[in-house]
């Protein structure tokens, strides 16, 4: 189960972006106190309901997801849960200087949780480069150098010297080191840039498709990823591909739509505007144009419920409907990891709770049988 920890209290009248310049006067710490604790309860509860894991991620200066430090949330989960995986997907490596901080904090979470961390590494969304001042034209270089350094921290005895283009460190010797050997599994989320998919294929790690796109964009990206793996001389395994999707289950199709639709539109119309910012050099011009070309297939530009359903932007319905649609998508996309967003936008605590319960009891067991015991529904 994936959680964004969104801000559900943007004023009705506000029509600006949810990112970079969204006034933080809209934030209220007292409401924040209630929200963080409610959202943490939801994540903790996922374990008792039988989920394989929970996912959290990093965003800054926005209303879409209020985890500037997902590691703080993950460390709480490490203490409050016992069995399930904790996936941080991920830390935006170019924003950490030196990136040793990521190696250290991830190792702490892995130790505290007894080896349950999945270590996600991201370039960071386009808006983060406006909010943090890091040069987007250096984003790929910094990401690649930082990732190599972090893996080296976990696999090579310290102290050692690191002399890269962006980071120069004479004594690299992080304490602690992770429980999992040689290191926690590495997941890389991406929005379809060629650079990221080629990179993940080369390292044989796992690629998570960023959601809110039409299903044909997912398909195109996973097909490209499989080809990229084939070019590297191996067949991609389903576990190397993750599909992240909003899901809502209720007793009937009609009730599911009626309960969920307003919260989905809050998400699409209030929280997505501004997410698609692509600062200069953030991707190659070739990838930037490809991603801009896909923009018509982005949830921000979807106007009707029928389009949501047809494009599988979200899977919404009765248990039977959701089972069927998800099984079809899993087969069609060829993915082995399914990351479900069971809270979205303004979806309140009571509906989120029932959604999680219905999904866990009526859908999850079926999907396990459908896609085999190896498939992880996190």
């Amino acid at each position: 189960m994936f959680h964004l920890m969104p801000w559900p209290h943007l004023p009705e009248s506000y029509a600006g972006p949810a990112w970079v310049k969204c006034p933080n006067a809209f934030y209220d710490g007292r409401r924040g106190h209630a929200l963080y604790n409610r959202y943490l309860d939801e994540l903790v509860r996922a374990e008792a309901l039988g989920f394989d894991g929970v996912c959290v991620n990093e965003h800054h200066a926005n209303a879409y997801g209020n985890m500037p430090s997902p590691n703080l949330i993950a460390s709480i989960l490490a203490r409050q849960t016992e069995r399930m995986r904790i996936a941080v997907v991920g830390n935006a490596l170019p924003l950490y200087n030196p990136p040793l901080r990521v190696a250290e904090e991830y190792a702490m979470i892995d130790c505290i949780s007894g080896g349950r961390l999945i270590a996600g590494m991201v370039v960071g969304g386009g808006p983060e480069y406006y909010s943090n001042g890091i040069n987007p034209a250096e984003a790929r270089e910094r990401f690649s150098e930082a990732l190599d350094l972090i893996v080296r921290c976990w696999t090579e005895p310290g102290p050692f010297v690191h002399t890269g283009k962006h980071y120069k460190l004479r004594y690299v010797n992080p304490w602690p080191t992770p429980v999992q050997k040689p290191h926690p599994p590495i997941w890389i989320p991406g929005a379809g840039s060629y650079e990221t998919m080629d990179f993940v294929a080369r390292r044989r790690w796992a690629y998570m498709g960023i959601p809110y796109f039409h299903k044909r964009i997912f398909k195109r990206n996973f097909d490209y990823f499989r080809e990229a793996c084939a070019k590297e001389g191996y067949a991609a395994s389903p576990e190397q591909m993750g599909w992240l999707v909003p899901v809502y289950v209720a007793e009937t199709d009609a009730r599911a739509r009626a309960e969920f639709e307003p919260h989905l539109w809050y998400f699409a119309r209030k929280l997505l505007p501004g997410i698609n910012v692509s600062p200069p050099g953030y991707t190659s011009p070739r990838s930037a144009l490809k991603m801009l070309g896909a923009f018509g297939d982005f949830m921000l530009n979807v106007g009707s419920w029928d389009e949501i359903v047809d494009g599988a932007y979200a899977i919404v319905g009765s248990p039977a409907t959701v089972r069927t649609q998800m099984a079809e998508m899993i087969h069609w996309l060829g993915v082995g990891n399914v990351l479900t967003l069971l809270q979205l936008g303004t979806l309140p605590a009571d509906l989120t709770r029932r959604n999680m319960e219905l999904f866990a009891t009526e859908v999850l067991p079926h999907l396990r049988n459908e896609i085999g015991p190896r498939a992880a529904a996190s």
Binding site: Y130, G133, P136, P280, P285, L289
Partner: protein, 263 residues
Amino acid sequence: MPARRIVQVAGKDVRLLTGGDGPPLLYLHAVGADVDWLEIHDRLARHFTVHLPAHPGFAESTGIEQVDGIADVVLHYVDLLGVLGLRAVPVVGASFGGWIAAEIAALYPERVERLVLVDALGLWIDAAPIGELFGSTPPELAEVLFHDQDHPLAQMLRAMTSIADVPEDFAHAQLKALEAAAKVGWNPYMHDPKLEVRLRRVTAPTLVVWGREDRLVPLVYGERYRDRIPGAGLEVLPRCGHLPAIERPAELAEVALDFLAQT
């Protein structure tokens, strides 16, 4: 029409347009708009042999991977002058190119004979932050760049909702140019904190030219350049935004040529 050639400078390809008669003049262009040969270059070329190189990463010029900041660009142009066999030249620099020109004149004063800065980036004034060049939509760009919103280029920008709306070649070139500009000027944003104090080193007679309605780099920046460069003058062009070379080429050429003709 100017002659087009590719010149090698320290392992980089430089697209160089050269046209006109008379003594040499180096024109350093803005973020894309005047990288091609325009009316302003024709007008200057009536009195000078105008050299119009594309900065690294712009048009067919390569080598952006060798550029990590403004100092690399300055050295690049000092190297280019060497390749062209030019000891000291008059330099006209607009916007981004104005920043580069001011840096060259401060760091290598002996290489700049006379200096014309046109709505130059390069300084920072807290009370009047430079406008958003990277994060603006095309219609927002039209708003900050142009005084005359009916100018054909402003109209084109205003009609676009995204860079994806323009022909792919053009979009590709624009994205590449913005990437190249970001490598130099993302942070600190389009300026060099050291430049202002270094401007006292400029020995070239200097004219600062500014569009009065520049909303990207407001007129106070022109006044600051005038105040910091010893003996500099300031010419303000009315009814003109950030790009006099595009919006007021005749007036810009006239004031620049008047100044360059003085001895």
